[in-house]
């Protein structure tokens, strides 16, 4: 084959000498560029757990609204609409766009759906569409059809531009036929970072967090009957709306604790496992940051077991008084309202310092069947109550049963129907908080 190509080339008219000298160099440079250069719009290296940002040196993003399928842990497949990176695969939710406060942001929307759609950016002032102020749209009879300028169906596009507002967490979502299109999955997150302080949630110094421990929880729900109706081009009686699946980042438990970009979830790239270590003033002084967003139509009373969280901002506004006084507060329950965003800092402290020698805790071994079927204090029991303890004397017949003596805490919606997969527990809006020993967990 190579010989054929060479022979064919030899019949062509010779290239000019200058081109003959530079062509090989150009090809080598092109190969190197393909291998090492990132795309103009790219995401940071994918962590196995934690926030995955879509970034752009020019703060320009290109999104395509399209249909595709997601899977649920009970084996169902659901037709969704979502915003995905143009030229990329379908994904739910839309990519998390990360920009700096004050940046000029451009979002080009391409519409592959059979009806008009749009993007609204709550919390971002003076959004332009096609260079003009974004405007609501009405039909011929004057009824409002869209909260903002749309992209025409089947290939239309429009470009939104705005200056990123105050640091914080924001939704971006469809502003057109909102009840239907948001339920179908047309939403994503916009993270605005304080300029020059990527390790702070906002301009306040006390919003400092560990950038390696940043998490985002996009909470949503799905009524599969509504989605089936849209897939088949039928109408749907929204008074019959009944959500059956409840999701964090487009996944339900146990998919929530699968890695980011797990092979078996090709259209649901974002996991929601929190993976941290105990607070230590010298070796682990910074908190984890968790960004909650509600893209659904009801409140999701989210409760992390084992540690309350410090609410530091809501809807892009820091929890502070008029004089800048700190008004953040500790929360047992992060009750995120529809359309709202809540940011919390989480610090897990080993308060009791249980130790098998100096501070033992009596442990009654539960029956095996209790451990299997739960729920109760025995769920997640690992045979050893001591964080990071994998050796030493254990009760007769008992061995260490987890990776490195780590703890697991459940975090889930306290509206327990929302912690099911179509009624089957455990599932839905549930994930885990994994706490490793202070020295970390050695690589296997």
């Amino acid at each position: 084959m190579l010989g054929t190509l060479v022979t064919a080339l030899s019949r062509l008219r010779p290239a000019p000498p200058r081109l003959r000298r530079t062509a090989p160099l150009f090809l080598v440079a092109a190969i190197v560029a393909v291998l090492i250069l990132p795309a103009p719009q790219s995401r940071a290296a994918t962590p196995e757990a934690g926030l995955e940002c879509e970034v752009s040196a020019s703060n320009s993003f290109s999104l395509t609204a399209a249909g595709g399928y997601i899977s649920t842990p009970d084996g169902n497949s659901i037709f969704m609409w979502s915003f995905g990176n143009s030229g990329g695969v379908f994904q739910l939710p839309g990519p998390t766009l990360c920009v700096e406060s004050g940046a000029k942001v451009t979002v080009a929307l391409h519409n592959a759906l059979p009806e008009p759609t749009s993007i609204i950016f709550p919390g971002q002032p003076q959004v332009l569409a096609g260079g003009q102020p974004a405007q609501p749209e009405n039909d011929a009879t004057g009824n409002l059809t869209s909260l903002t300028t749309t992209a025409a169906p089947n290939g239309g596009s429009t470009t939104y531009t705005f200056t990123a507002g105050a640091p914080g967490t924001y939704l971006y979502q469809s502003g057109t036929d909102v009840q239907k299109q948001q339920q179908m999955g047309l939403f994503g997150a916009l993270v605005v970072r304080p300029k020059g302080h990527p390790d702070q949630e906002n301009e306040r110094a006390d919003s400092l967090f560990d950038p390696a421990r940043e998490y985002l929880y996009m909470l949503s729900e799905v009524d599969p009957d509504a989605h089936l109706a849209v897939e088949r081009g039928r109408g749907y009686d929204w008074t019959k709306y009944k959500a059956r699946y409840f999701m964090i980042n487009g996944r339900s438990m146990p998919d929530t604790i699968a890695p980011n970009r797990a092979a078996w979830l090709p259209n649901q790239p974002y996991g929601s496992l929190i993976h941290i270590r105990p607070y230590d003033a010298a070796t682990n002084p910074r908190s984890a940051l968790i960004r909650y967003l509600n893209a659904g139509v009801t409140s999701y009373p989210f409760h992390p077991h084992g540690s309350d969280e410090q609410l530091i901002a809501r809807d892009g506004h820091p929890a502070q008084g008029p004089a800048g006084q700190d008004l953040s507060y500790s929360n047992f329950l992060i009750d995120v309202a529809p359309g709202q965003t809540v940011d919390t800092l989480m610090t897990w402290r080993d308060s009791e310092h249980w130790d098998p020698v100096t501070n033992p805790i009596p442990v009654q071994l539960p029956q095996l069947q209790d451990q299997v079927v739960g729920p109760g204090t025995e769920t997640w029991f690992s045979e050893n109550p001591y964080l990071g303890y994998t050796g030493g004397q254990l009760p007769p017949g008992v061995v260490q049963n987890n990776q490195c003596g780590e703890y697991y805490h459940v975090a889930h919606s306290h509206a327990l129907e929302q912690s099911t997969n179509y009624g089957a527990s455990f599932g839905g809006m549930m994930t885990l908080i994994r706490i490793d020993p202070p020295v970390g967990c050695p690589a296997p």
Partner: protein, 153 residues
Amino acid sequence: MNLSIRRGPMLYRTTVVLLTLLFAAAVIGRLATGASARDPYRVPQDGQMESTLGVRFTQAALVGDDGLVEISYVVLDTQRASRFQNDVQHPPVLRNERTGKTAWRAALMKQGHELRPGQTYYILYLNNQNAIKRGDKLEIGTTARKLAHVPVR
């Protein structure tokens, strides 16, 4: 790199063709790193086991940053599957075929008695001392039979 001058036109053309092919391979390789390029995942099936237990195992995966092993199964026969699920004294044991290590402590599995045929359920195991690693193959041992060569993803 001035091949046309030193070594003649044939070497030059061959080099250009090779570099062009390399360029094409680099582009294809870059594009192929997406989700669509992954290998198909298959779990062996055992009709006798499925007939006895009323379930078909469909996946073994490491989750929880490798601290947990997820075993998924689809219910084929509600009555038999109920017996399988409620035999809490004998949850399946996962044996790593490469190392012989086992994961046997179930951390979480379905509650309640309602099992729907065709629906997928799961059991989470504690991955004790890294018994199971991604890319390994498992033997899922039940009271009825053993299902070998289940790949871990």
